[in-house]
Symmetry: D2
Subunit: 293 residues, 4 copies
């Protein structure tokens, strides 16, 4: 059987658990199948020196047909933000603990990755959010997010006052600790612990979850992913709130500035084994089998 993928990129982030074994297993599997292998710079540091080509995270996607990410959902988020620019599909291998995005366990690596390389897989599209911060009619920052955009106070002791509009229609003024704007992919991450609903990944929708809102009748609101969100930081704020994308970047948003959030045209191509079932992952991650008594 022929594979749709000729060159495979390896990328992974090491936290507490070691990912070297998994990377080596992948390297050998790819060598056996005579597939070209390229490696991301930091990832190469976890492997014994050899002659595999090395590329930066941002360049890797340009030089391969499939990126295999080793690590947790955080590692995949990190890699995905780079992969999406080159429209390179991404496959996630977890380090032993099931992730929402990394659904192949190390013990299944041989079988499941082989199947994918044989062309037996499902490709799922996950959309991303594009963020632009504008001040005095000038864009001062741009970023993207696969999970969520989170607005938090610059100084923990201050609430933020901000106004939200959807497609240029004013929605509300809020006085809160912050705001989470999440995709369906991010709806099972931070937004969920903030009381947000789960959005099925096939849904073209965005959820906005207020954080510790001063108004007790504030509720999470779900809008179309085709909508354009504008968040204006009231100029009455004494300190500049901060904005974080996928928990990674953190920029200051000056009072008076506006945050524009809208769906990016490019989507993440997420690869799953054929037997992948979203609700199975959901049940496992949320312990839905476990009854109270």
């Amino acid at each position: 059987m022929t594979t749709p993928f000729k060159t495979i990129g390896l990328i992974g982030r090491q936290r507490k658990e070691d990912i070297t074994d998994t990377l080596l297993a992948l390297k050998h599997l790819l060598a056996q199948r005579k597939l070209a292998t390229v490696v991301e710079t930091e990832t190469a540091g976890y492997l014994p020196k050899d002659k595999l080509p090395i590329y930066s995270r941002d360049e890797l996607g340009k030089h391969c047909d499939l990126m295999i990410v080793v690590g947790g959902d955080g590692s995949l988020l990190n890699a995905a933000r780079a992969a999406v620019n080159h429209q390179t599909p991404v496959l996630g291998i977890n380090r032993g603990r099931l992730g929402f995005l990394t659904d192949i366990r190390p013990s299944e690596l041989d079988n499941k990755v082989s199947e994918v390389l044989d062309g037996k897989f499902v490709e799922e599209k996950r959309f991303l959010l594009g963020i632009e911060i504008e001040q005095n009619n000038k864009a001062i920052t741009q970023d993207i997010a696969l999970n969520d955009v989170v607005l938090t106070p610059g100084d923990v002791a201050h609430m933020i006052e901000f106004a939200t509009s959807i497609d240029n229609e004013f929605m509300l003024n809020q006085y809160a600790d912050g705001l989470i704007v999440a995709t369906p992919t991010g709806s099972t991450a931070y937004a969920l612990s903030g009381g947000g609903p789960i959005l099925h990944p096939s849904l073209a929708a965005i959820v906005m979850v207020p954080m510790f809102p001063h108004t007790l009748s504030a509720r999470p609101i779900v809008i179309s992913a085709a909508s354009k969100i504008t968040i204006e930081i009231a100029s009455t704020n004494e300190t500049a709130p901060r904005l974080s994308c996928d928990g990674q970047a953190l920029v200051s948003v000056p009072p008076g500035a506006r945050i524009h959030i809208s769906k990016k045209p490019e989507q993440l191509r997420l690869i799953h084994p054929l037997d992948y079932k979203y609700f199975e992952t959901l049940r496992a991650k949320l312990h839905w089998g476990t009854k109270l008594a």
Copy 2:
């Protein structure tokens, strides 16, 4: 200016507050404009006897080009379930207290209704859910809902055990007091007081809100309105739970039966004045202006 509506149907339900004045004002306005007027049977009882044609709630929509509903959101829900069969557009006049669906106040009646009759209006589509209860492969009941489908115990002292599937993929077994399945229209009604998110009316999505779930990690979940939901009542339930559509009908669902829920092809044609703004209604209804301190 010509009106797109030649014959107008009047319908309203009286609860505590009198609707006769509003009906009379409408009748005179329509007579002035030389528009044909027809009246629903119960509604005719609130008016002095005259020669206007009278039709049942289910027939009214067939004999008019626009139904004007006087009352609260409950009255509009009631009328809409009949209107949708004939694809008759519906306009709501509230009795002094703003509704999500009835957004013209009696004091604005002359101006706003005249504008609508002049053809100055926006038409919004709201989808409905079709419900079918199946037992032993036979459909035993069918119904529709504009707001929500609510599963509750037949006997308040018993929890219900049920299994939910989405597009034939098993989602979870639940042990709970019940389940609310709501459209965006219904997301600001009962589902909201049960902890569900607000769904923007333009969203093709359905929210499922578990009621007093035994599993503390159960959360509201939002799925595509194109999905087919199946709820199987476990045969272990000792009593038959009950199902209610828009808080109106209430049928028994025997243990072992399945409830199938999916979007109806016909949508409600909801008429608003030109200056209607969804978020304005939302802010007013949820008191979003009011801060805690």
Copy 3:
């Protein structure tokens, strides 16, 4: 070592799982230790016929110094409501699944029950609520509750309008599906799935949890167990709501009637093994070890 308990009462309710083995093991253990044993009527039916004295649930406590309950928390609730009248201490054995009140597992029965009979135990006091329904200045019903008092609609389609006062000071009018009034013991049962907080069992406090309240700013409120709660069912209600104590009794409360709730002077004497730890049970029951990812 001498035992403080001369006569032991056995009581248990059988649901899905068999309790006969556990009852027999207890009977033999007590016979070995030459302790007098008496049995509750229904419980005697699960045992082979012999000459042990048999008493009704309500009489059992009068004829023994310790009641051993076999079953789940529901069985203990049931037995406790009878035991408290005679101030008989109660010990709970679960059927394999840890309960909040039944904390000895069948496998630990020999060791742990022997310890208790040897006088090595801790006695914990749990307070109960006394409930009186009053209409036209006459008491029409009285009941007690160890877990909770739950007000629900007589007909699932109707919300209830009611006014709550604490120590004769008006608190609020509510329009809701119902109200849960729970003791600390009941705070980890139904009230918890309704969004109520956990109250430590040593706390002399009562929590009131509104069910699906119409006002979005309604919140659970915790008051002193020394307070007297009065709930007046508005005479505007078209149907009579129902009241349930510990999920067992269910009485109708006519519109216009008042429900008086206050702490009973008699407390339940709950016996635990020496190594009992409340938070250990809490962690186990609420799966607090399990992280989201």
Copy 4:
């Protein structure tokens, strides 16, 4: 009629709204009644220069029999932390917007303050929390809180891992954005917007509200105010979380350190007019009169 208060201290914090008018009105009222008046340093700056004695916030309570605070609940919190050391009673005047603690409106000032000075008032006791941060068996910081103690990440992008014990019994390990520990007084402040219950002010209880907990089954827990809480910051945390008392101080808590929280022996003496009703304030502040529809 004689007054129990011979010398009155004036204190107030100015935010957006001017408090000078209210301070002047008070000064004149006290002069008319020939009562000695002393003023806090910052507060004196809002008044025209005169010969009234001036004391620092911390000293003021020593030199008067009653402190009158002008401002919002924040101003009263600030003053109360100083007043409690001298056991000086405190009376709050709001700036036009009702507070939970400042319940006299400027328009009622003449009547209500006069009544209080005439000895017609109720005194309510509110307890405070004492906080001690310990590292390597040495106390490194001490503080007090009338409302709440809030643990937050030092860096917004990091969750905190911490272990909580109650009276030296281990409760749970948590992985969360933070934790709010609130008194009944603080239960209607920040803890409420985080999903905590309302605790009646007469209750000797403390509520612990996890902030964005990773475990979905985490819930607010209410414990006795007589309990000693210990929060141990796991040494695995890469950055030092921060602790804030009543939203005012903010100290760093090194990984490995322990936070000890317990009720202070001294209580705040809060003065109310005779017609003060807690639930009236609660209804007004939480807009409990306002129904959803």
